[in-house]
Symmetry: C2
Subunit: 312 residues, 2 copies
Amino acid sequence: MTSNPSAGPRPADRPRRLPDLNALELLVTVAETGSLGRAAARLGISQPAASERMNLLERRLGLQLVHRSTTGSRLTDTGVVVNDWARQVLEAAQALAEGVDALVSRQDGRLQIAASLTLAEHLLPGWLVTLRTLSPGVHVGLQVANSQQVIEAVRRQDADLGFIESPATPRDLRTAVVAHDRLVVVTAPGHPWTRRKQPLTGAELASTPLVLREAGSGTRDTLQRALRAWNGPCEPVLELGSTTPLRAAAAGGAAPAVLSQLAVADDLAARRLVEIPTTDDLALQRTLRAVWRKDTELTDPAQHLLRITRRS
Amino acid sequence: MTSNPSAGPRPADRPRRLPDLNALELLVTVAETGSLGRAAARLGISQPAASERMNLLERRLGLQLVHRSTTGSRLTDTGVVVNDWARQVLEAAQALAEGVDALVSRQDGRLQIAASLTLAEHLLPGWLVTLRTLSPGVHVGLQVANSQQVIEAVRRQDADLGFIESPATPRDLRTAVVAHDRLVVVTAPGHPWTRRKQPLTGAELASTPLVLREAGSGTRDTLQRALRAWNGPCEPVLELGSTTPLRAAAAGGAAPAVLSQLAVADDLAARRLVEIPTTDDLALQRTLRAVWRKDTELTDPAQHLLRITRRS
DNA sequence: CGAGGTCATAGGCACAACTTATCGCGTGCC
DNA sequence: GGCACGCGATAAGTTGTGCCTATGACCTCG
């Protein structure tokens, strides 16, 4: 089985209560409109409902967030701070919503795109949010696959635009660089490699059993190419098509993992994983590219999206 | 009144439904445990409740996320993608929860910290999340104020550790650099400055009415210092103690604003605001610092937090 | 072939949250 | 100075959502 039965590194900080996104949205809207009533109207609920919802939020958090007056409502000092945190959460939620929308309209979107997993997970939602704020009319359809399959989809015209992370760039398609990424070697915090003084060499990495993405994925391709001089990576301990269980396995101490910087940023920040420096002769950088057919002109929305991606 | 009555740049994409954070948490837990039942147990709900919740999530999103079998549940391909987006949202939500916790225990925390608004809003929650995962026992109390007041709080020993963004570093306190920041000039997308070919000069900026943070804030101090050679910024159009309405005012076209890069990153990405390049002689960089008393040894948790901040 | 795991279904209950209607109260206009 | 308007709070009633326990159907493995 692929799933780790004894997984579950989180001990027992469970009693934490998650906030209600609708309440957070209300807070943000009150901050913008300056009134509970106007906020209620904009959110399409009645004024008492907004009043009640805000009360509930304040009671749950144990903080007074808005200062009510007969002329309207203003945020308190703590309200200002919480409001900004709330905006971060809503931003992420909006990215999720945008991505889900695109996944749902995989067929009927006006703009069909295909993206590799890493790109779809970490970069695309943000781009889609921007695209929507700039031109709300476009309906995007998203298909997620590994880099090889993305290329095929673009060739077959199943997708107007593709995003790949593989080092192999097909000659029969137009490409544009949209971002840069780097693979990093990560281990559990207690791993012997974390106490190394010298950077990890290609030979060492190539001879160590790892947990890896599946063959055909851009991540695996890049690693394979980087370790070619040392006869590729040896047989992996575990091989999976998604990063979440890989991260869990690595964090659990199963074996080192090689993953995109984008995929492990959170875990590194939270010290669930530790990055192991490598020698410079290991070419673990990679370029994320957009690809499209040479013979067809890019549609307007496709051009728009491409412009957005190239600015970040 | 300070709030903008006609504010509300969002037109009418309201019908978007926000996901339920508990459902998202269930999704990532299923991904980790590989079973609805185990996920239910970990979240402290019954197995049927988890089953139902997951069904509801799938119906709401219009996507099949998990593949149920008699041996357990695994994520579908789209489930893997959505799972990763969900983790982002939860990460932000956890940061919010951590921050709220700290605000609530402003008095009874074992580690008392005080931070300026920009730091508290954008950097601190992430640090607190890390701190909690590393040493779950510590209770942090957070007080938010402007840089001047933070310094006072540390002097009075109301706070063990302070975080400031002001260019003036008090001589009677120990300091450590924790991050770097930069002020940026931003305008609404249609503003004449967005069509400039030449970078904005200090003289121009100094003679233009702006929307600004209040005096005493680190942001205002930095700007004042940078524009000293041109006799400081002229009388502001609007002066506020928080960034949200400032951003709204700037995005609405009221006047250019000068704000922390951290505060406007989202708006820049979404093209709600545009950054105006400035000449190099404008010293808009600034250093974010931790401060504490020279005469008292830092407590263990305080040292821990400081170590965390210095790695990012 | 039985035991133990999985998830789904059914029935019943509780509470959370929304609605409409109304009130109290400041502000500002005339 | 008085009156109307807009704000938020309160009240009462209803709906619906989500949870629990109990049970059933199914697959897998020993």
